[in-house]
């Protein structure tokens, strides 16, 4: 499937109101003349005939301070000076340093329209974390070679070993992260698989088994073997194209998984072959792996079961992540998937999320260089995750040395996650994304969710193609490891300073 043939359809929010960035205030001086309702093309003001008071402005539709230069600017037009415009204090309650309110809003717009926002008042490409991707910028050449967008390819191969196993190629260098049945709702899981199929890429079951309903999407589902071995079945291993060993998760490296008893419902328990209502622990680590040799045995075992499948190894980012990556190469893996410390999770101790293991930005560079030094880089596919929030993060990760990325939070935000962090408490996600509570899991349907994901992937692809074009390249593969195309706000590149000295 070529990205250009993916069908984009407008898929608006399922809620009546959006979270407003601006606040339009109407004072008592208003005489309900209706001027504002007539002038504002965005329907912020509504005048109801017969009412003696105008309705409250619908803040979220307002385009904000940009409007000041427009002829229709309501604040200037109001004959009584009753209107004023300000930043909405509500906006400060949305988002955080990593996922800013602008970034969340931008992703919502992408999921709704399929394109990056037209608005210029949103900084949706970089966050406010003050480090890593947020300090890296592209150094676009002033006069790149002309390349037509239609000539640009975003496809990448996942099997670079030339070992006779399946030559899996994905059309866009991103796929969906593992979210287990039990931690997210079925519509979330199914829509991820449908999106992966439409985009000719992948999604991952996470730990917790392979729901039957996903069988229709077998060619685009990675099945995971994690430390708890929950739901691992020979028949699934034999059916799929990629099998992933999950050693650790970036957000809680070294801590294993934990599904609360309340979330272990009848259906979850059946899938995991466990007893309903009991909390389920995935231990840490694999109790059968204490060396790279043990690790190889694992890989040999699945390769034996499925002679055509690719093997991915998912690890987090300790100091020796480069050794682990090279070890995985020698053990016969096709994909090394490194998951940085700032990645998403259904539930993890705050102390682990903040402190344990390094951010993905460093790990990509480390692993890429070490694989290169060992002469193994060309035979491995390096996938980065844990903190890839935007298309710009994706392109930066590739410039640092990754082949592609896995995303999780960005998918959930497309389904209108607000990052409130309550996924695992009580009944689970109040917005129906990460919940198996029967009432909450029904808050949206698969068609809506699939289209939102398809749209977001499309918007990312549009941005990625644009970046490749601005570098005068024809394939995303040319970007890999091109750190010379980046600059860091705190450091600067030699050539630039050479002018001064």
């Amino acid at each position: 499937m070529k990205p250009s043939t993916v069908e984009i359809k407008k898929m608006p929010s399922r809620f009546k109101h959006q979270v407003p960035k601006y606040k339009v205030t109407r004072s008592d001086a208003c005489i309900n003349c209706g001027t504002c309702a007539k002038t504002c093309p965005y329907d912020v003001h509504e005048r109801v005939e017969g009412h003696n008071k105008a309705k409250s402005p619908i803040d979220y539709k307002c385009i904000g301070f940009e409007c000041q230069d427009e002829v229709f600017y309501c604040v200037a037009k109001c004959p009584r000076n009753a209107l004023s415009l300000s930043l909405n204090p509500m906006y400060a309650t949305l988002g955080d340093f990593r996922w800013t309110a602008d970034m969340i809003t931008g992703t919502w717009i992408m999921a709704e329209t399929g394109y990056p926002p037209q608005r210029t008042d949103l900084e949706y490409n970089v966050g406010n974390s003050g480090g890593g991707f947020d300090k890296l910028r592209f150094k676009f050449p002033a006069h790149p070679p002309q390349v037509d967008k239609s000539e640009i390819s975003t496809a990448i191969p996942l099997n670079r070993r030339n070992d006779g196993r399946a030559n899996v190629v994905i059309s866009t260098p991103v796929y969906g992260g593992g979210m287990s049945f039990g931690s997210v709702s079925l519509p979330t899981m199914v829509s991820k698989a449908r999106n992966a199929t439409i985009w000719n890429t992948f999604t991952c079951t996470g730990e917790g088994g392979y729901p039957e309903i996903l069988q229709a999407y077998d060619d685009h589902v990675i099945t995971q073997i994690a430390t708890g071995l929950f739901g691992v079945r020979e028949e699934t291993v034999q059916r799929v194209k990629i099998i992933e060993f999950k050693y650790a998760q970036g957000a809680k490296p070294g801590l294993g998984g934990h599904l609360l008893g309340e979330k272990n419902t009848e259906s979850v328990a059946r899938m995991r072959e466990a007893v309903r209502g009991y909390p389920l622990f995935s231990p840490f680590p694999f109790h059968s792996v204490y060396s790279i040799e043990d690790h190889k045995k694992h890989i040999d075992w699945v390769k034996e079961m499925n002679p055509n499948a690719l093997v991915s190894v998912k690890v987090s980012t300790p100091n020796d992540v480069d050794m682990v990556a090279v070890g995985s190469y020698y053990a016969g893996a096709h994909i090394i998937h490194i998951d940085g410390g700032y990645g998403g999770t259904g539930a993890a101790p705050d102390i682990a999320k903040k402190n344990i293991a390094m951010p993905i930005e460093y790990a990509i560079t480390k692993v890429h260089n070490f694989l290169k030094d060992e002469g193994a880089r060309d035979a491995m596919t390096l996938i980065a995750s844990g903190g890839i929030r935007t298309a710009h993060d994706l392109a930066k990760a590739i410039c640092l040395g990754a082949d592609g990325a896995v995303i999780g939070t960005a998918e959930l935000v497309s389904l209108e996650c607000v990052r409130c962090g309550n996924c695992e408490s009580g009944r689970g996600c109040a917005r129906g994304i990460a919940s198996t509570d029967s009432e909450l899991a029904d808050l949206f349907d698969e068609d809506w969710a699939t289209q939102r994901l398809v749209n977001m992937y499309h918007a990312w692809n549009v941005q990625l193609v644009e970046i490749i074009q601005r570098f005068g390249m024809r394939s995303v593969k040319e970007l890999v490891g091109r750190t010379d195309l980046l600059e860091h706000i705190d450091y600067s590149h030699e050539t630039e300073s050479a002018h001064n000295g």
């Binding site: 340093f97 480090g131 231990p283 300790p318 930005e361 408490s425 109040a430 600067s492 050479a498 001064n500």
Partner: protein, 469 residues
């Protein structure tokens, strides 16, 4: 294997006015349709008891920021913002979110867990500029957190020999000095002057319950806490030794305020204490400039334990300009390195305190080179205290604290330590370290921002200053 150490938490809510993060206001255009009642799964929106036709004020204490009521109210009548109290408490170091988390930990004694990824800045100052390592394939612990493999947090205080000597018969010739063993690498330090009686007793009882000690001004050691003398470290000036003979006699450890006499004649001081008591001596030094030099000198002259005290935000004291004041992380590293260079690191026990505010600071301080830490303000926060940094340091204790029963305030402190202990286990388990003693100076298991950023990005994107020189 040592007996398994466990701290027993017990849910202990306090009926205090905590600060909440959010404020929700229902506008006048509300039509009392009740939609918000249906959509809020945390029950923040309810109808009025006296008049069910109308909505009551939102109960924002329970709000979890899911935005559903905001987005689904047909009239857009609800407004949410950050609460003023929330934005005002704390400061650059004692962040408001940190205070809320500590209150919660003191209430339930559990490790704070949440969904979605990390939300904070990429890096920060002091301890925020380091990460800890983990092991996944090579040398991991075997599930220490869920208790299948025991992780010990015990540390001991006292002088250790650089090496052992044996006589010609192979018998140990060295006299091994006494040490005091604690189950957790956290001492309590008296948080405020003029402690009210029940808080003082609670501090002592909590310290005893978790098998640690509290450093307390000798003058405060009165009959109400006498029975816990094993867990009390009297703190006094060298000139006061004779005044507190009785207290000293019972103590296992004594904390002596640093002064020039201590620096110039530690052996003399030790001799004087020895005549009265078997207590090991802690020298309490403010974290001033060149504290590493002083520590080295004291160690050479036989000091046993040194307690380095930074200010309440973990900054060096008597620094002139605010900007070049070192932070606790760097102070500890400097002290540790100096002692390693002098080849005397193993002879001395280093306690670090000042700005130990979260569980993560404990293992981090140890990785930097401390043997253990001491805490003060968090123990008051456990009781619902609020910290303010601006315009100046202010610690506000909740009203009516004197009336809260002793078992409750004790349990709150124990809860906080239970939560910290579990979190320390999480970090140690991930690092593959099963002995807290092994954390000391183990920088190979830490990732320092300055180093890794320079190694990766510095190498790729050369430093501007360096090039333009």
């Amino acid at each position: 294997m040592p007996k398994k150490y466990h701290i027993h938490p017990k849910a202990t809510p306090l009926d205090l006015e905590y600060v909440c993060k959010f404020k929700i206001v229902r506008g006048e255009n509300c039509i009392n349709c009740g939609k918000c009642t249906k959509v809020c799964i945390y029950e923040a929106h309810k109808r009025r008891k006296d008049d069910p036709r109308k909505m009551a004020d939102p109960n924002t204490v329970v709000c979890r920021n899911c935005f559903r009521c905001i987005q689904e109210c047909p009239r857009g009548a609800l407004e949410k913002s950050l609460d003023n109290d929330f934005t005002n408490i704390g400061g650059a170091f004692w962040k408001p979110d940190m205070l809320i988390s500590l209150w919660k930990q003191a209430e339930d004694g559990k490790v704070p867990v949440s969904g979605a990824g990390y939300r904070g800045p990429f890096t920060g100052t002091g301890f925020d500029s380091m990460w800890t390592d983990m092991s996944e394939i090579v040398r991991p612990t075997r599930d220490g957190i869920h208790g299948r493999e025991y992780i010990s947090t015990s540390v001991d205080l006292g002088r250790r020999l650089n090496h052992l000597t044996f006589d010609t018969n192979g018998q140990l010739a060295s006299k091994v000095p006494d040490t005091v063993d604690l189950s957790i690498p956290i001492l309590f330090d008296t948080p405020v002057d003029n402690l009210i009686s029940n808080v003082k007793v609670a501090l002592v009882k909590a310290a005893a319950e978790i098998n640690t000690c509290i450093i307390m001004p000798a003058v405060d050691i009165t009959s109400d806490v006498e029975e816990y003398s094993n867990n009390i470290i009297p703190c006094l000036a060298p000139t006061e030794i004779d005044t507190y003979k009785a207290v000293l006699k019972k103590a296992r450890l004594v904390s002596i305020e640093y002064s020039d006499t201590v620096l110039n004649d530690f052996p003399g001081l030790k001799e004087k204490i020895k005549k009265l008591s078997d207590a090991l001596t802690i020298i309490r030094i403010p974290a001033m400039k060149d504290v590493e030099g002083i520590v080295a000198k004291l160690t050479h002259s036989g000091a046993e334990i040194i307690h380095i005290v930074a200010d309440y935000r973990g900054q060096e004291l008597n620094g002139s300009a605010g900007s070049d004041r070192r932070l606790l992380k760097d102070i500890i590293r400097a002290v540790h390195l100096r002692l390693v260079e002098d080849r005397i690191r193993d002879e001395i026990t280093i306690i670090a305190s000042g700005g130990i505010a979260m569980a993560e600071h404990v293992p981090k301080a140890m990785l930097c080179g401390a043997d253990l830490t001491a805490i003060d303000i968090p123990l008051m926060i456990a009781l619902g205290a609020r910290v303010y940094e601006e315009p100046e340091k202010l610690l506000i204790l909740p009203e009516g604290l004197a009336k809260i029963p002793l078992p409750i305030i004790t349990q709150r402190m124990v809860n906080l330590m239970a939560a910290w202990h579990s979190q320390i286990l999480e970090m140690m388990g991930a690092m593959g370290i099963r002995e807290a003693r092994r954390l000391r100076g183990e920088t190979g298991r830490a990732i320092f921002f300055e180093e890794i950023d320079k190694e990766t990005f510095g190498r790729l994107f050369k430093r501007r200053e360096a090039v333009s020189v």
